[in-house]
Structures are given as C-alpha cells and as structure tokens.
C-alpha cells in the first residue's frame, strides 16, 4: 500500500506550481543527467581590477573559463540535459554547449534551491503534518492540517479548524512535509534539446565562473655586490568555489581583459524561517520605548543580489585552516593567445576547492641591475631630510639574461646574509613586455637623504608687462626667477648613484644649473654619484612667466 502511494508521488509533484514543465506542454521534457566529466580544462584569469597583495580565498577577484567534456544519452523527443557539479560561481549567460547532434532550444539556469524556507514556501496552502513531542515521555502526536502562511512565521490550520502559530507554545514542534517541491540542492544549469532519434553524444560545456584568481609571485635575490639579481617566479592560483576540478588541464592568462560588470543573474537569497510569534513580553520586563516599524515593500530585495556569490557558495567550513597551499615542481609553459600570454601547466593537475596552488614560472640567474637612489620631487618642494627610494633598474632582454614576458604580480626582494635570505621589501610589478626597461622597488634608503628648499625668488621689475584685454581687465605679466637648492647626504660606506626627477611648474624651464640635468619621462633629471659618507649639493635656477589679473 505504502509503495503504491509513493509511486504516485511524481504525479503530485508535477502539479506543484514550482515544477518547470516547458515546451509545448503536450509532451513534457524528459530530464536526463549529463554523464560524469571525462575531460576538464580550467583557464584562470586575473582580476581586471588590479593585482592584490595576496590571494585571499574569501575574496578572489578573478575568474576562470571552465571547459568540461561529458557524454550524454538523449532520448527521442524533447529532453532537458542537466549538468551537475558545475562551479558555484558560474556566470550562466556565458555557458556554451557544443557537440549536440541538434541545436539547443533553451539553456536554463535555475537558482531556486531547496532550503527549509523554500520547502515551507512550496507547502503553503497544502497539507502538512505537525508533529509534537512530549518532552517527558518522548511520545509524538501528529496533527494533520494545512500550512496557511509563511510570512514572518508559520501559521498552521489543523484539520479540525484550529489556527495556531508554529513554535509559539514552548513545546517541541516540527513539520513533516509532503514532497511539494522538486527544487534541486544547488543552482542547476540545464539545456533543452529536441532530437528526432535517441542519440549518444560527447558534448563540451564551457562557462565563465567567478571565485578564481591568480598572480605571479617573484622572488628577487640581490647578489652580495648589489650588481645583479636572481629572479624566480611562481604562478599562484586560487579556487574559492566549493567545486574541485580534478585531473584538469590548467592554464592561466596574463594581461588585462575587458570585463563588463552589472551581470546580475537572479539568485535565491533564501530566508530564515523565523519562528516569530506575537510579542513575548512579561510582567518582569522593563518598559520598552515604543517604536514604529516602517512598511517594507514586498518582493526580492535587489540589494541582496549583489551579495549573491557568497550566498550561492555556502562553505560550511570556510575556515583558514582549510586553505591549502600546494607547491608543484617543473615549469609552466608560455604561449601567445591573441594579445595575451597563456601559461600552461604541462601536466594534468587538480584545481581543488578552497585551494591555493603554485606552479613554477621562471628561474633566471645573474640579471645585471643598476641600483639607483631615486626621488620624484617638485621644484617648489621644501623637504627636510627625506629618505630616497631604492630601485633596481634593468631591461627585459637577453643581454640582461631575461627577454621573456613578465606578468604582473608582486616581487619580494631578498638579500642573502651568510646563506640565509633576508626579506628587504615587497612591491607590485606591472606587466612587462620583452625589451622594456623596468624597475623593482626595494624600499626606502634611510642612509641616503635629501634636503630641498627654495633659496631665492625674484621678480625682474624691468620685464613687467601690462596687457589690456578689455577696458576692465588688465593682466600683469611678470618673469619669476627662483633658485632651488637640493642637498644629498650619504651615510653609507659605499658611493650612491642618485637620480632626482624634478617637476617644474607648467611653462617653467631650468635656465641655469651646476649639474647638467638630463631628461627622463619628460622631466629634468639630475643624475650624480654621491661619495661614501659624503654630501652633494645641486643648485638650479628656474624661470617662469606668471600672468595675474590686476585689481581694477
């Protein structure tokens, strides 16, 4: 008897308003599950919003292209192919399905998932069992009735017509539900297809998914004499999805891609079932300030949607302890992909859920570098004993033992002291193409400092001009002469190569200087060597024409 009734249950489910019968309605689509994944490729792209300091599994800003190969058997007629185990950060609109003998009628992504609140919602207006347990004896009493409402608490009407609210009595109460919803456990991607004959096909599904990121992590070890560095790099990639990608072809892509945002697909925000009852005051309460709760419009709060990804990817044990770092040997291989760089992990690897993985990218030895004490300053700056920045400048070419693309990331610089590396600085690095000059920031130099001041400012009265623009407006044009002095002090036991780029006011020029300035990036730049435990003085004169309206 019982089995027979269970056999009838799909009929009940088919009548539920949630059931998604599609097509012409005459012959409902059969649901078939796409077979297990037989081949898998994951390409991870960097966050388009810049490289972060480190990969934090709780906020990965990049994304990935996931390509899966599966086998599916479709019956004749209309069928719905369901894909299980896709990444929870999937961007459904980007899904591409190829390899089907017929075209895809529809692709659907259903965000409505099974949850306690979804179950209650689907049961409103339907029959349900209320089960009460006697705390003393453990005896259960079942009451049959109807769930009348699920707004801010659950209202139940027994078959006898008594109306009560759930969990207001202080007694242990629970519901036993009829299967009123066929909502799946996770958001589901499906494709609706129509085939004249049954067929078995090997299909490929590819989609973009959030919750991935990667960066390049460089380690630069400075040689004892400071004239060269050894540069090594890791590709560090992270997956914060709750889905793992075992045995996959893994790639990362370097370069900034255009990404358009405001891609808001609906997600099931889910709600807690509040067992809220009428006010629960007692005579021992202190009086409350009366307050008025504003009316709240019904409907989905669109604000909830933005916080969607986290809600979609429930990670019950999202705990730092679960972050796992895997380091693998050998090296990723680089190839050109349009105007981007693709790095391929040359063996199959697993991109596991909540994992940070590292693959070696490059190892270059004895790269000649120039150590420069550098500052960008304005001619008008008044600086008092300001440390300069230390940079290592080199060129990305074969002569400098490089000549390969360096994707953006972070560089940690080390000195070696008695065989033990010592961290000096950590700084970001931009995308560096082959043959480009680039710099590695090594931090501040406390021993090499500058003082800067304006020593003199003069206006030549003979060169004063008055310009009458109209009867009312007169402009006074004067030539301003300034003398600036920069003092560089070096407290090191070695000489220091110093480079000072001076930003002069618009239209001003350096007319006289005791060190001849060169030009770097359009700015006058003084380059000089300051001897060990020595001082250098730079004096220069700027000239500028200042236009000022005269007071009438």
């Amino acid at each position: 008897m019982r089995r027979l009734l269970y056999a009838c249950l799909p009929l009940v489910a088919a009548l539920a308003p949630l059931s998604a019968a599609a097509g012409d309605g005459n012959a409902p689509a059969k649901t078939v599950r796409a077979g297990a994944v037989t081949d898998l490729a994951v390409t991870v792209y960097r966050s388009p919003y810049g490289v972060s300091e480190s990969l934090d599994l709780d906020q990965l800003g990049g994304f990935a292209l996931v390509t899966e190969t599966r086998t599916v058997s479709i019956p004749a007629g209309e069928s719905r192919i369901r894909f299980e185990g896709v990444a929870d950060g999937i961007q459904p609109a980007s899904a591409i399905i190829t390899g089907l003998p017929t075209g895809v009628l529809e692709k659907n992504h259903d965000a409505q998932v099974l949850s306690p609140s979804a179950l209650v919602k689907a049961t409103v207006g339907r029959s349900v069992w209320l089960v009460r347990t006697d705390r003393k004896t453990g005896k259960e009493t079942d009451i049959q009735g109807t769930l009348v409402s699920d707004s801010e608490g659950v209202v139940f009407q027994s078959a006898a017509g008594e109306i009560e609210a759930l969990r207001c009595s202080g007694l242990p109460e629970a519901f036993h539900f009829d299967p009123a919803t066929d909502a799946p456990a996770t958001p589901t991607l499906s494709a609706l297809v129509r085939s004249p004959t049954p067929a078995t096909a090997t299909i490929r599904l590819s989609y973009l998914a959030l919750g991935f990121d990667w960066m390049a992590n460089y380690v630069a070890t400075i040689s004892p004499d400071g004239s060269s560095i050894d540069l090594g790099a890791w590709v560090t990639l992270g997956n914060s999805n709750s889905v793992s990608f075992p045995d996959a072809h893994a790639q990362v892509v370097a370069g900034r891609l255009n990404r358009e945002s405001e891609q808001v697909e609906p997600v099931d925000p889910g709600t807690e079932i509040l067992a809220q009852c009428w006010p629960r005051g007692s005579t021992s309460d202190s009086p409350d300030e009366p307050h008025i709760v504003g009316a709240r419009p019904y409907g989905f709060d669109s604000v909830l949607v933005t916080a969607s990804r986290k809600a979609m990817a429930p990670m019950p044990m999202a705990d730092m302890a679960l972050q796992e770092v895997m380091v693998t040997g050998a090296r990723a291989q680089q190839e050109q992909l349009g105007d981007l760089k693709l790095y391929r992990v040359p063996w199959r690897t697993s991109v596991t859920s909540r994992q940070i993985k590292q693959v070696r990218m490059l190892d270059q030895q004895a790269i000649p570098v120039k150590l420069i004490y550098h500052a960008d300053l304005s001619a008008d700056d008044e600086l008092e004993s300001t440390p300069l920045r230390k940079i290592l400048r080199t060129r990305n070419d074969r002569a400098h033992h490089l000549g390969l693309p360096l994707p953006a990331g972070r560089v940690a610089t080390f000195y070696e002291r008695e065989g033990v590396p010592l961290l000096v600085n950590e700084a970001p690095l931009r995308d560096v193409a082959v043959d480009e000059e680039f710099e590695i920031d090594v931090g501040e130099a406390p021993d090499v400092r500058i003082n800067a001041e304006t020593a003199d400012r003069a206006v030549d009265p003979k060169k004063l001009k008055r310009l009458r623009l109209s009867s009312r407006v007169v402009v006074r044009s004067s030539e301003v002469d300034e003398v600036h002095v920069i003092q560089v002090t070096n407290a090191r036991s070695a000489s220091a190569f110093v480079e000072l780029s001076v930003l002069v006011p618009d239209g001003a020029t350096i007319v006289e200087a005791d060190h001849v300035p060169g030009t770097r990036n359009g700015h006058p730049t003084f380059s000089l060597t300051v001897p060990a435990e020595g001082t250098a003085l730079i004096q220069f004169r700027t000239q500028e024409i200042e236009d000022r309206p005269e007071d009438p």
Partner: protein
C-alpha cells in the same frame, strides 16, 4: 506503528487533494484555503509576457472568471509578486464593470493574527511539563503591545509570563490577511456564468539582454558569432507555458530610477559604434523597437536565467587592431598597454547581417592546442543593421605606448606650445598597426609640426596610424599650439 499509519493516511489525503485539484486548477484550491470567504477564483487559460530590455515586462493573463451576476470579488493568484498594482487592468468584453481594485499587502503572520484578535476570544491550551496533560481555557485578548495581555475568567494575565508552554488557538483567519500579496478586483457582472477576461499589468523583475559569443580565427581574420537572448526572472513568480515576446528598446518610464548603468573600470569611455547602420533587415518591428518573439512557448521559472538562440553567423571578416588614446597632456613614467580592438560590420554584406540588441559580446580565440579560450568582452548598445562596430577586448600585453610631455612653452598670453612624444613599442614577432589618438584638443588647437601626418578625427581628437615593425618601436612627435 500508529505513526506509520498516520503518515500513510497523510499521503492518501495529500494525493486526493491533488487529484481533486487536478479537476480544477491548483491555485483555485489555494484560494479556498487562504481566504475563508471564498471570493471567485479566476482560472488561467493563456499567458503572454512581453519583456522590455530594462527590467520591465507587460504580462497579459487570460483567465476565465465565474461570474455570479451582480457585485462580486475576484481574486487573482499567481500574478507577479512585484506587480505594479497601479498598472492593472481587467478587460472582459461587455461582461463586467470594475467597481474597485485592491492589492492586499496585509500578510498573515503570527503577530498579525494576535493583533487582529484584540477584543476577541481565543483558546489557551496549557501543557503541564510534569504530566503532559493539557488544559483548555477561553481567554479574551485585551492588548498586544510589547506582550499579550489576556483576560481569563475574572482575572488578567500576561501570556507565557511564567515561560511555561502555552498554545494559543484562533478559530478563524481574519478576512483580509493573506499568505501572499493578493490582487483582488471587485466587479459588477452583467451576467452569470464563466466569461473570458484579460488581466494585464506591468511588473519589474523580468528583464532580458543579449549575450554574444564570438570566436575569432587569427589565421583568416574571421569571426563566428552566436547570439543568445538571456531572460532573467526575479519577480518572485513562475510564468508557466507563456507566449513570450522580447522588445529591444525600453519605453520611457519617467520618474523612476531606470538607469542602472554604472560601468566601473572603464579607464576612459570609448565609442564602440563607429558608424550607425542604415539597413532595415527583416526583423519584426513595433514603432522604433525591434521585436524578438520566442518561437515556442516557454516556462519562465522564478529565479531562472534562460537563454534562447537568435543569431548564428559564420566567417564574418573582422579586423584586429590596436588603439591608444592619450588624454590632454597625458604623460606616464612607464609604457601603457594599447587596447586590443576588433572591428566588424553588422551589414548584410560581409557582416553579421542583423540588428544586434544591446548586450555583452564575449570574444574567444583558439590556443595552440586548439581549445577556445576567453580573451575579453565588450558591451554593445542596440545596434542597427549595417553598422560598423569597434570593440575592445582588453589591453595588449606586447603593444604599448609611452606618452610624454617633452616641453611646455609659453609663447605669449593665452598662447602655449606643447611638444609631445609618443613611443610606440611592439614586442610581437610581427609588425602591428596602432592607432594613436590624442584627445582633448578642444577645437582650436593646431598641430604646428609632427613627425608623421595626422588626421583630425574630430575637433577633439587627432589620430596617427603608426606601423611598428616586429620587435621594434617607433617614436612619434607632435607639437600642439593651444590657448591653454
């Protein structure tokens, strides 16, 4: 044993309920359950949904109403949970006139149930924690402000003041409390019996856009483009077996905040539509809007993203180029990447041959192993047929421009000269052509000298088309005379 028996009985009842409901629609059964006064339910016959591109839809719900003749209330279940009640209209030819329309938001909650019971009698059931014995008492609800005050017999009590279990039983649900926001219309029927009626309303929560997949073949410089219509439903309701029509374009809805358009991380906005087309094509139109009817009826489930194909073109010629736009007096200490740009036309001749509704175009390209890889995406606006599109997919790793203000000289009052240098570098093993644009010219700027002939694209911008040899660089210089 008793437990199992009851459960089986429960399923039997559930089944009978459902079978009973099969004879009349399920929502009619719901109406009876939630509204004890049983107004006439309406029975859905047909449903059509017209979706505009900007999160707005027109729903036309064809139903049968059982008229009693004279004044009666009709309830509509399964309408959008975000229905804009002020846009509802009910039409039934000559059969009825509308007295009033209500959209009831007064939801049935436990607290509301108690609030509405003030001044009425309820039953209090106390369960003894020791013996489990139940005692029943009648109580009058006096007040529900921060606690429930009851009058039982001749004394006053606060409900569950002692924290002991006590159930409250109500004998009816107040008339105007409902499980869901419910639309009800009071009508005056001209006759009795079932009549067909059409309920139409506007609702947000349904929207659509287009998504395009373009596979670029570098060897032949051709793209294959697939277009998908992406429908999203977050209106809180499922639209079963609906005739669906999509409208490219959005009617003006004044007053509302319709523009959700923030486009973050666009370093500079760049025009994508280079030339608007003038071809008309065969797509259905309504006024100035293009219509995209879905070929088959479909069920748009709540919280669903649905995609239906509307475009599939192969082998369209596409041009791959580079573009760098410098702001006025833009100078940088490091070379900056040029943008990778793909251009193609939507013309019927050597193009996509269709109008493109607004959406996002994603570019793919095959890697060395032959697998398609994503290379960037770009938004497009509603694009007429015959237009020339130029879409940027991102930054080129190997093609960069370093722009420098070499010198700024004051030639006189209101008269300046700016000497610019642009170093265009190419780390690719093949020559490339880069369009270098200098913006911010404000019309009366003149170019006094330049190392290569420029063309003035507009009063605002000058363009140099620079060919850079493989693994090489080209230095471009120009001197501008301005009033600023």
């Amino acid at each position: 044993m008793l437990h199992i028996n009851m459960r089986v009985q429960g399923f039997a009842i559930g089944l009978l309920w459902s079978l009973g409901a099969a004879a009349q629609p399920a929502h009619a059964a719901q109406a009876v359950a939630t509204a004890p006064t049983a107004p006439a339910a309406s029975d859905r016959q047909d449903l059509s949904v017209t979706i505009y591109a900007d999160d707005l839809a027109l729903v036309q719900d064809h139903r049968t109403i059982d008229l009693t003749g004279g004044k009666q209330r009709v309830e509509f279940q399964n309408v959008s949970a975000q229905i804009r009640a002020e846009t509802v209209s009910l039409a039934a030819k000559d059969a009825l006139t509308i007295v009033e329309q209500n959209f009831d938001f007064d939801l049935l909650t436990p607290a509301k149930l108690m609030e509405k019971a003030v001044g009425h009698e309820v039953t209090i059931v106390r369960t003894s924690p020791g013996t489990g014995a139940e005692t029943r008492e009648k109580a009058l609800v006096l007040a529900t402000n921060g606690g429930v005050v009851l009058k039982i017999g001749d004394h006053i009590e606060v409900l569950r003041d002692d924290g002991m279990p006590a159930r409250v039983i109500f004998d009816k649900v107040p008339d105007n409390l409902r499980a869901h926001p419910t639309l009800s219309v009071t009508v005056n029927g001209a006759r009795s019996g079932p009549v067909p009626a059409t309920l139409s309303y506007l609702t947000p929560g349904l929207g659509w856009r287009a998504d395009y997949v373009a596979l670029f073949d570098e060897a032949t410089a051709k793209i294959d483009v697939q277009g998908w219509i992406t429908l999203t439903n977050s209106s809180g309701t499922t639209y079963d077996n609906a005739k669906t029509l999509l409208v490219a374009g959005s009617p003006n809805v004044s007053g509302g905040a319709t523009d959700g358009g923030g486009r973050p991380y666009m370093r500079q906005p760049r025009p994508t539509l280079q030339q608007a087309g003038t071809e008309s094509g065969s797509r259905e139109r309504l006024g100035d809007y293009y219509l995209y009817p879905l070929a088959e009826r479909t069920t748009i489930a709540n919280l669903q993203t649905k995609q239906v194909s509307f475009l599939d073109v192969h082998g369209v010629p596409a041009e791959h180029g580079y573009e760098f736009r410098n702001q006025w007096l833009g100078t940088s200490n490091t070379p900056l990447s040029a943008r990778t740009v793909y251009s193609f036309t939507t013309s019927s001749h050597a193009g996509l041959g269709d109008q493109l509704p607004a959406g996002i175009l994603r570019f793919y390209m095959r890697d060395k192993r032959g697998d398609p890889q994503f290379i960037g995406e770009s938004r497009i606006d509603h694009t007429p047929m015959g237009s020339k599109l130029s879409l940027s997919t991102g930054d080129a790793f190997d093609v960069k421009v370093q722009s420098t203000v070499e010198k700024r000289s004051r030639l006189g009052y209101d008269h300046w000269q700016s000497d610019m240098r642009y170093v265009v570098s190419n780390a690719l093993p093949k020559p490339v052509t880069v369009s270098v644009l200098q913006a911010g010219l404000w019309g009366d700027t003149t170019i006094k000298s330049e190392s290569q002939k420029s063309s003035r694209r507009s009063a605002e911008e000058a363009e140099w088309v620079v060919t850079v040899p493989a693994n090489g660089s080209v230095t471009l210089t120009a001197s501008f005379q301005t009033r600023f």
